[in-house]
Symmetry: C2
DNA sequence: CAATAATTTACGTTGAAGCGTAATTCACTT
DNA sequence: AAGTGAATTACGCTTCAACGTAAATTATTG
């Protein structure tokens, strides 16, 4: 179970998992975001060309938000920001 | 100090803060990512049209990664994924 | 295994990101 | 206040995401 994401593939996979955890289809996300099902599919499959607006809309529909964290996870956040 | 981001504005602001915390200019990020300074500027100013590839490249340059978290922060992650 | 639902892919169209280049505006230091 | 560096904005150009629509492929269920 990988909640971290540093690539479009990891991000798409995390979103897909969050969606399925809610028992939702891509069509459900589509209805809640006014994005096409094909767009959701593209995002979940790791298309790095996806727009930030698209990603944010899907995450909002899923009740998710970003956390910016230093890579590796061992460094204290306070040391970075 | 807000590390969470659910909008392009918040994301851009977080990135700008992380960059300045390292004492870097947009030009430094530009050199490390082969992205134009104007593109970095656009991202930091909250342009939701920014491509995921751009965002990921900048975050990589800053040594940052995403964490997908439920909104609000009070819900257990296990309840979501 | 059929049905049925869900996901992926296709095609033409439109709008805009990011590019190169450069100018302009803003911030900081002396 | 002047000078230097940083950030923002501009313009023409190319590329491609997301659109509408629809077909094809892939689960999923009876």
């Amino acid at each position: 179970m990988d909640l971290s994401a540093r690539t479009a593939e990891q991000l798409g996979e995390a979103i897909r998992r969050a969606r399925k955890a809610r028992g939702w289809t891509q069509g459900d996300i589509s209805a809640r975001t006014n994005l096409r099902v094909a767009t959701i599919s593209s995002l979940e499959n790791g298309d790095a060309g996806t727009k930030l607006a698209t990603l944010l809309a899907v995450m909002a529909a899923l009740g998710l938000e970003f956390r910016l964290a230093p890579r590796g996870g061992s460094v204290e956040i306070e040391d970075i920001f």
